[in-house]
Symmetry: D2
Subunit: 272 residues, 4 copies
């Protein structure tokens, strides 16, 4: 019996993992030695490789970094951030604060990317059957409204025009990565813009990420993982600031804060 | 009263944040518009900027990415990963699995970076008072051993030579970023190597990161935040694999698994 | 303006809570001074009072204690318990272990009470419209099977006859607290028992609790809260045992354990 | 070889648990069939039995229930409660809200029982060596103050006289369960009362529980488990109220609330 066949027999009945192979003094992430990718892949590229199994193309790599950066922080008022800060004020360790923050990505907060991907896919199924993008958009918007549900990926409790969405779409255009999902969300945007005053809602960053992820082949559950990963630095930074800057056991009123950090500035020329 | 003074009066008594300024249609992270840094900073650079307040230099940026990549995944057996997989097998949402995983960064698992930074700082305080690196290393190792404590940043339950530590030190050398902390840990390494057979312990990745963070000015609590951030993609990927590949409510024996992913491979030439 | 009206004006726009009133040196839980109920209500009665707003009747109080006791521990193999033990082995504090354990109450583990209550309510709606219990049971079982879903509240991965379910039904009978929900689940049980060999599934404890909660007027979301509350002592005890009895950072194989505690025993006569 | 010896050989190398024995259709908690204790032990008695291994005596059982009831809820302002409410407002499931709340039992919030038990034990060690309670109290208070630490178990951010502490001490007296720990904390209380105006701090509920647990033989880590268990119903009730009564994604100002529940009332005569 060959060594390979013996190994296979020995492995029968074991459970399987395809992510990372650990041997003494060797760590292979998706086949790549981790010490080889250190310094050669960025964190964003390594995240993509781990989740998707292959290295990203340069264009996908750029979109990946932009998606991850887009959620890096959203100030002190999101409930997930407040859960983390309220945990921090008790003197809990940072990991407990971050865990509490992550738990606040519920139905109303952060779940929109997956839902918007499914929403766009409903429209694209109609398109594949011969419906025009415009008619497909009208159809799926009507379906959502008949069900009394908000249109996922549209509107924001704070911004009337989400600057992150515009930037992500512009990058996809420049990198020539636009596909059917972006076309579909653009069609939905036109339908939304044609609604009576006060009901027009612009695409938000969740919608933009949903469309871009759809076009670069990232499935909804991986998009959801990206969302969680991208929100952790902001939650950790907010909890850290709470621990370092405020006295313990304070009562945190989210509306009662003021920003006293760096004024608006631009990246140095060489980074633009 | 000038508008500025009125604002200041109005802000008296409010609590303060220096991380992110949110205004309608504007998000400034440490002063930089988030839509400007999208596509221009990598995720790793943006994380550094958010946590430290300023853009990283190119050398620090490279070390930053390498540190974040070094922890990206360590296979299925770490207890934090198993907590996440056991949560995933119940059908819990991904965010709950990730939160459960993060909670497993306890005293014995992931706390070594902060402890090693304090350990090295003890030695460097002696150096500043005139002790040689060698004598300082002997002193702090003896102190830890007298207290019955392991030397933080040394040894690994799996690897006899941690390939990630070697790579990180090599990068610091090539980037000319070596400083007193690396010199200190090198001195400790020599002391450890001189111990009787079977007690020699090599520097691990926690030790390497502690030394590098010390030399590039990252304080222990930020290094701890980096550790948590860097472990999230691996935990999310493991939980995702559990959800996608295994049947719910299974009994997970960590020793009973086999790797069936990509074979060992190298980055394409242009990435090396 | 009367003092009361002034107070009401002052309170306009505030958010409201009806659970507990805190004043200096006074704590009223649902109106009862906490120092008055200490030693006069059991923990189970106090939990009911807090969640439902009124004291339980003696019969409801007894069922309440029995429901809470029924879930007190289920050994080392439930995934939620393993998440807590894997967290404990890292040296994490008890609260982190308990939090990790609670997160493992997912779709496949612990969600059955709420689902079974909704399932029984579907049947009772038919009964209210004139259908017999038997026909209503046939109808809702068929509906679940057509949807490819398991019957909530029936079957157990371990027990063929759940001793807790039998005991709870017996108590409801003795206390004369049986109502329409128990009648409904009995009808479903008969339908299930009539299925071909190997498909007959008995009522489990989730089903029994769902029926009893329905009959004593506890809504599904409160039943869900009771489930979480009742599981916490077991998770805490298991995490505590892991911390106290095992060495840190071990690999926990759930199948590889043996029970070495007290042998089977009975309550002393005066407690029976 | 006897069956018992075979079993023992077979069990060698397995890990051990003494809490709960699970066999098909049988669940023994500390040896007691769970269906036998349902309806015969209260939840509080079952918790004690699970954690301590034996049934409580009637006196200990009463103190146990009182301890568990004492923490049942403390209104909307504790940071742990606010973490749970902020998680609830995102639409997260109840278990995620409860987990977030539990994580907020940090150094400054809920850790006092364990610390106070250690504090009292320091004093009792002096007493065992011949020091009087009074001198021991003076000594340990001075030690804590020299270290710049607050006296654990004394003072409250809200109450000047904690009604729960008074009630628990009264119960211990009536049940004739007072021992050395209560004597010790009484001595500390006298020392604290003798301090200059404005520094006198009364015993709080943490201190009372610490002393009572010490006297009835509950070790600090079990007292900590009791604390977590006792806080869960309040956190669950608060999260539930947030989900049921408020609109999602609101900004929660803890100071901006008003109580609109039941007015102060007494238990019916037969319960007093």
């Amino acid at each position: 019996m060959s060594r390979e066949r013996r190994n296979r027999a020995h492995d029968a009945g074991k459970w399987r993992t395809a992510l990372t192979c650990i041997e003494p003094n060797k760590i292979l992430v998706r086949g790549y030695p981790v010490d080889e990718i250190m310094g050669r892949l960025t964190f964003g590229e390594a995240i993509y490789t781990l989740l998707m199994g292959e290295l990203p193309s340069p264009g996908i790599g750029s979109l990946m970094e932009a998606i991850l950066v887009s959620f890096i922080d959203h100030g002190v008022t999101p409930p997930s951030t407040l859960a983390a800060r309220n945990t921090a004020t008790t003197g809990a360790p940072l990991r407990a604060c971050v865990a509490a923050g992550i738990l606040g990505f519920g139905r109303h907060h952060g779940g929109d990317i997956e839902q918007c991907m499914q929403f766009l896919d409903q429209g694209l199924e109609l398109v594949r059957k011969g419906t025009s993008y415009r008619d497909a958009a009208i159809d799926i918007v009507a379906r959502a409204e008949d069900a009394g549900e908000p249109i996922p990926g549209f509107g924001h409790r704070f911004h009337t025009r989400d600057p992150r969405a515009a930037r992500l779409f512009q990058m996809a255009l420049e990198l020539e990565m636009e596909g059917a999902h972006i076309q579909m969300i653009r069609a939905v945007e036109l339908v939304m813009a044609g609604r009576p005053d006060g009901q027009a809602l612009p695409v938000n960053i969740d919608g933009a990420i949903a469309a871009v992820c759809g076009d670069i082949g990232i499935p909804p559950e991986i998009a959801n993982a990206l969302f969680i990963i991208s929100r952790v630095p902001g939650i950790a930074a907010q909890a850290q600031e709470e621990r370092g800057r405020e006295h313990p056991m304070r009562q945190i009123d989210p509306k009662d804060h003021v920003y006293d950090g760096a004024g608006q500035r631009r990246l140095p020329d060489k980074r633009r």
